[in-house]
Symmetry: C2
Subunit: 204 residues, 2 copies
Amino acid sequence: MPPAPGDRDARREDVSQAVWRILADHGFGGLTLRAVAAEMGVSTGMLMHYFPTKRALVGHALHLLEQHTSARPRRPRPAEGAAALRAVLLDVLPLTPDDAARNRVWVSSWDLALADDGLRADQAGRYVRMRAAIRPHLEAARRLGELPPEADLDRLAATAVAFVHGLVVQALFDAERFPPDTQTAMLDDFLASLLSETPGGSAG
Amino acid sequence: MPPAPGDRDARREDVSQAVWRILADHGFGGLTLRAVAAEMGVSTGMLMHYFPTKRALVGHALHLLEQHTSARPRRPRPAEGAAALRAVLLDVLPLTPDDAARNRVWVSSWDLALADDGLRADQAGRYVRMRAAIRPHLEAARRLGELPPEADLDRLAATAVAFVHGLVVQALFDAERFPPDTQTAMLDDFLASLLSETPGGSAG
DNA sequence: TTACATACCGAACGCTCGTTACGTACCCCC
DNA sequence: GGGGGTACGTAACGAGCGTTCGGTATGTAA
């Protein structure tokens, strides 16, 4: 293979695909330079030309995970407000094998992320963005009267993310007990109770 | 040190404490025989007398985690129904440093558990038990009229667990943005919307 | 043709891991 | 007061890890 100067990005893309396969099969715990090199059929030295250190490769893997997440096929957003929110949250749940693989990688990254302050901050930022992505739909829902005017949208966004990710974890561990239609029904019930919230809630 | 035959349990208890300190500080990813031995100031050979293999030690660590979880200080259960459910769920949230450490260990164990079929089944069983522990309070709530008669209690239990654990994860990654009172307020809002669910929910 | 930079391989380094073998101190029992 | 089994410490093994390094092609430039 000639050292064509423009191939660097293509090579990094090859590495990305190998990294993703490793992650899907063995999680972040199985992400080693040798495993990636073997997956590509190249040497570890070659890897170091593109990612000077393991940490750089891990960072790239996390970036890749985010990229795969944001580039995943999503349902059309049917409308504004609650219906759109439902579509967004449905796109998070592990309803297909691909979704399950991606979520499995996410969960497996938490062990690393909780142990490293930099990665922890990255993950915190990712959650901030996730909640921010939900907020516009909550605003629309409020505008449409689907939510009471005094609803705390930031808290609602965090609550929705909490419910969805908590459901993801349970579904990953017990796929039999949480088939796609059960997950969907749970989400619909959750949204129904959220949206039927009476102004001036009681508990406190 | 004499080989007093009754000291075996005491020694295992010493090991347990060291294991727990390692888990709290570095998670399951940092649980190595050498780390535990160094924490106790003994040799790795000594460890192997009490846990013949690493897997045995990991199993013990998981058992220890469950033990710490079930033996944690809990608030009094004020009453039946929704109030009791609130207390149960509050006891899960990382409101104190100890709670945070325990939850951090839980999350860090998921990486291992998702990679090993046996451990995954264990974790699935743990979730089954967690939902089963919540169900009686939901039944009481329904009996007290705090829930509509046709509510699906199994699904509600799973939903409550999902919300709480999803909140745990977000709080672990971003403690600043999820101080104890914010977590409590979110839980109260969540419960309020759950309990105000109107019979014959809409979405679906 | 020579000189040089790039791309990559293969092998090795130093380290840590789980695990094992061996030596020794100790207590119990005779 | 000597066996013998238990309870360790010490040291090492082999494997796997991230990383480094020397060598070898292949391209471009003079």
